[in-house]
């Protein structure tokens, strides 16, 4: 079938037609069953319910670190006692209208672009607990420029966060183990970032929590000290306490025989009734109590002869029955079992975790008929949580939630090394600016390589450029003078600030190949002195703010085998060395700030952050780091939509820049003048920040046929500097950036001048 799009080359049309046939054959081979229309409304309810459960599932999904230790310890005996308790009431959840059909989109009433919730990070808990990242507990909130994690609590060296749940009042309960193999630990109550947590138990099991009649409660099982007793040798009395979280007073809720092999598994609350699960080697026992701990006349236990393990227990929707997970020991199959307390209407739904090769850690949330079962799944490289949605009325379906992927190696670090490295929070502290030292002590090697520049093109600007040529920091003045300021094989990036300070990055990576690469020391050189601005960071820009010359430094976190880490973007007063945090970034695969631009009223400037993650992301802030609304012709999402347009063209082909007066946003899109992409053109777009109106575009031929071309923009006055690089290959076959001479574009006329000096990381000085 021919495409309605013309013209194309013939090969493309043939290939596309074959692709269309292939897809059509596949799709048409599956008949579509159209449910009745009431399915739409049912689906709407299911979505609501699923999201409620998801909010809870997030808690269970991340019970990884403590789970690792326990799973390892118990791997031979199947004595799982790590049930997860969750209680995420409705009012802790985002409103449906804020829930997106597309992760990238906002919810505008008539805009088919679906929504995205975007609460700003504040000192309050604004999100749900979504992660135990290594040893830190984070509350994740969506913010406009990406995902930020607010760190609530960082475990001390040797500690492992084991369990966490969030209550309807926003507060969070966590269990912290000082031994990754321990089955109990400190139980803490967290109310806000930075606040001192309240210790609810020094050696206990966090069993559950809920808000009942407006009162937040936690249930904590105090675990007796068994000393050196071996399993089966000792048994003591344990006590499950109910703690009023308003004043942390507690009552004894239920007392039970507590042995090394038994514990309080979980607590679930329905109305004022409390379902307590107690696990033991004989199997689980369940009891229903009222809110004051009085036995409500309902108890059950799994038949010891059933040949099954069981975990988790939740009231069903009506509260007159309950659900649990069961594994048949004979064949390893799993079932969700539900039934009324009177033993009637028992329903069993089998399910099969995919790819499971380890001992699953099950947790369970039930809401509105849909039940989420979180199964920890292991394979060769991954440890992740697979969420399986079970419908007691209609069987099972599997759904992997890739956002919950956790590296096995990261988890093992905590289990295998009780005291690995300093907690990540150290990297979040403000970095102390180093003292001034004699420049000679920095030990730079001096200029290297050939500096015989062939200056055939003067710079058509009033402002000097600075770049890295070979391994030298070079200043390229408008009069054509090229001055080598510094040289060292470890220099990977450089800027010149308005006060004449030279900022450099020093890394042990090959220079030029690392202009956007790994973390380095950031050094300020002024006169014959230098000082360290960051021991592990990157230069993100320079500017003038409130009359002060500033540098922007992005500190890198301590990567500790984690997928992501957060760190700060600091603005450093290059005179006094004072610094303030103006932004955060999530390192890893999500969010990384490349450049910070300052513009607008010098006394009240604005900052444009250019970052990237899954998608290019831009953010527009005031000098205190507050997000600013940016008028947008689309949906006010800070340029993301425009940036997205060029996603897939080149990794850097979306670069935004802010005009010196802060009124105009520029970005560049690389377009091909023909489908073969052999003659790429940079289209420079502009937009009035205040009105959102797009201005005229300027097209600049990039004059190079390499497809994997990337560009950067910087602006000074009416001149725009367009840098060019492409993916080269080194002798080992690795992709490394190779650079072309930059292009200066006169914004008022569109005139483009290609300079003659090839180098990396070109920027306007000052």
């Amino acid at each position: 079938m021919s495409s309605p799009n013309t013209p194309h080359n013939r090969d493309d049309d043939e290939l596309g037609a074959a692709l269309g046939r292939g897809v059509r054959n596949r799709v048409d081979n599956i008949p579509t069953i159209t449910p009745g229309f009431d399915g739409v409304e049912r689906r709407a309810r299911q979505i609501t319910n699923r999201r409620r459960a998801l909010a809870g599932a997030a808690v269970g999904a991340f019970l990884l670190l403590g789970g690792i230790g326990l799973a390892s310890l118990n791997s031979d005996d199947n004595a799982i006692n790590q049930d997860t308790v969750d209680s995420v009431p409705d009012d802790s959840l985002p409103a449906d209208d804020s829930l997106p059909a597309d992760d990238d989109s906002n919810d505008n009433t008539d805009d088919p672009t679906p929504p995205d919730d975007s609460p700003a990070i504040s000192g309050e808990l604004t999100g749900n607990v979504t992660g135990l990242i290594e040893k830190s507990l984070f509350v994740r909130s969506s913010i406009l420029e990406g995902i930020a994690d607010v760190e609530l609590y960082t475990a001390a060296p040797g500690e492992v966060l084991s369990e966490a749940l969030q209550l309807a009042d926003g507060s969070i309960l966590v269990e912290v183990h000082d031994d990754p193999f321990a089955g109990a630990g400190r139980v803490l109550h967290l109310t806000e970032p930075g606040a001192e947590p309240t210790e609810l138990a020094s050696f206990g099991d966090l069993a559950g929590g809920a808000v009942v009649d407006g009162v937040p409660y936690a249930w904590v099982g105090d675990v007796p000290d068994f000393g050196d007793a071996l399993p089966g040798e000792d048994q003591m009395t344990g006590n499950l306490r109910r703690i009023d979280l308003r004043d942390h007073s507690s009552i004894d809720f239920v007392e039970f025989a507590y042995s090394i092999e038994s514990s309080v598994g979980s607590v679930d609350v329905h109305g004022t009734r409390v379902l307590v699960s107690i696990t033991s080697e004989a199997g689980p026992t369940w009891r229903v109590l009222d809110i004051e701990g009085v036995y409500a006349g309902v108890s059950a236990e799994l038949d010891a002869d059933a040949g099954a393990n069981a975990w988790g227990a939740r009231f069903d929707e009506e509260g007159d029955g309950f659900l649990w997970i069961q594994q048949n020991l004979a064949d390893g199959t799993y079932q969700l079992v539900g039934g009324n307390f009177d033993g009637t209407d028992e329903v069993t739904v089998p399910f099969a975790p995919s790819e499971a090769s380890g001992q699953p850690n099950l947790s369970l949330q039930a809401d509105g008929g849909l039940i989420a079962v979180n199964v920890e799944v292991f394979d060769d490289q991954l440890r992740y949580t697979e969420t399986i949605w079970l419908d007691l009325q209609g069987g099972a379906s599997n759904e992997v939630e890739p956002g919950e992927v956790i590296f096995l190696q990261a988890a093992q670090t905590a289990a295998d090394n009780p005291d690995p490295s300093p907690p990540p929070s150290e990297s979040l502290d403000l970095v102390e600016i180093g003292a001034w030292q004699p420049l000679a002590d920095l030990g730079l090697d001096g200029p290297k390589g050939s500096l015989a520049f062939d200056i055939t093109v003067p710079i058509p600007t009033d402002t000097a450029l600075v770049g890295v040529v070979d391994t030298n920091v070079v200043r390229y003045d408008p009069n054509g003078t090229v001055t080598t300021l510094l040289g060292d094989p470890d220099i990977s990036a450089a800027r010149i600030a308005a006060d004449g300070s030279v900022l450099i990055q020093l890394s042990n990576q090959p220079a030029v190949t690392n202009a956007r690469g790994s973390a380095t020391e950031v050094i300020q050189i002024r006169g014959d002195e230098f000082r360290v601005l960051s021991s592990d960071g990157r230069i993100n820009g320079v500017g003038i703010v409130d009359g002060k010359t500033v540098g922007f430094v992005g500190d890198f976190p301590l990567f500790d085998s984690q997928e992501t880490e957060t760190a700060d973007l600091r603005m450093v007063d290059l005179d006094t060395g004072d610094s303030s945090v103006i932004g955060e970034q999530v390192f890893g695969i999500e969010w990384l700030i490349y450049e910070a631009f300052v513009g607008g009223d010098p006394s009240n400037p604005v900052i444009l952050l250019d970052g990237a993650g899954y998608q290019p992301l831009w953010a527009y802030r005031d000098i205190d780091g507050n997000l600013l609304e940016l008028a947008s012709p689309t949906d006010g999402r800070y340029g993301v939509d425009w940036a997205n347009e060029v996603d897939g063209i080149g990794p850097d082909a979306d670069r935004p820049a802010l005009s010196s007066d802060g009124t105009t946003l520029y970005w560049v899109e690389v377009e091909a003048s023909d489908p073969s992409l052999l003659t790429p053109t940079a289209v420079i777009h502009s937009m009035d920040v205040a009105t959102g109106e797009e201005g005229p575009t300027i097209e600049v031929s990039l004059g190079f046929t390499e497809i994997a071309l990337s560009t950067d923009l910087t602006i000074s006055g009416d001149e725009l500097l367009l840098t060019r690089s492409f993916d080269g290959v080194d002798q080992d076959g690795n992709y490394v950036p190779e650079y072309l001479a930059p292009i200066v574009v006169e914004l008022t006329t569109g005139e483009a001048t290609t300079l003659s000096v090839v180098g990396a990381d070109w920027h306007f000085a000052g």
Partner: protein, 165 residues
């Protein structure tokens, strides 16, 4: 239950669409959009979920929409984008297996779509399966037609690499 038999992959937008009842819209669009979603995400189960999610979103604001069909299709495309982006996370860590069908067959090309980036995949499916004009694809994705052309060219290039591998 209604067994869908209409083979047409894409429904044209009709001027009187806003006057359609939700029920009519459901009957008209659901099977077609499920097919489109299947083509985009290559998973019958997820395809149905995506379309049902899109209807659920549409239902909540149906009275305010002037073009519910367009809203639906964009929601489905966006839902598919979200699904494919999620898969990207796994793919970075665990690359997909190679196509299992016979090389150079039409089915092989369909298999090979799994190895493409979400946007390229979506553009190719919308262009060559749904026969959408670039302009319409651009509207659904919120990008410019030139970007659609670039993504298509790159996607086809990717497919050629798979074929020649």
């Amino acid at each position: 239950m209604i067994l869908e038999t209409d083979p047409q992959p894409v429904v044209e937008t009709e001027p009187a669409e806003a006057a359609l009842s939700v029920d009519d819209l459901w009957r008209r669009e659901y099977p077609v959009l499920v097919k489109l979603a299947r083509a985009l995400v290559d998973s019958p189960d997820r395809a149905e979920e995506i379309v049902q999610d899109a209807f659920a979103h549409t239902l909540r604001r149906y009275d305010k929409l002037t073009n519910p069909g367009g809203y639906l299709r964009t929601s489905v495309v966006n839902g598919a984008r979200g699904e494919l982006r999620k898969r990207e996370v796994r793919r970075r860590i665990k690359p997909p297996t190679s196509p299992t069908s016979t090389p150079a067959s039409d089915e092989y090309l369909a298999d090979a779509l799994a190895g493409l980036s979400p946007k390229r995949r979506i553009v190719l499916v919308l262009r060559f399966y749904a026969d959408m004009p670039d302009k319409e694809i651009a509207e659904h994705l919120g990008v410019r037609p030139a970007t659609v052309r670039s993504l298509a060219a790159r996607g086809l290039s990717d497919l050629r690499e798979v074929i020649e591998r």
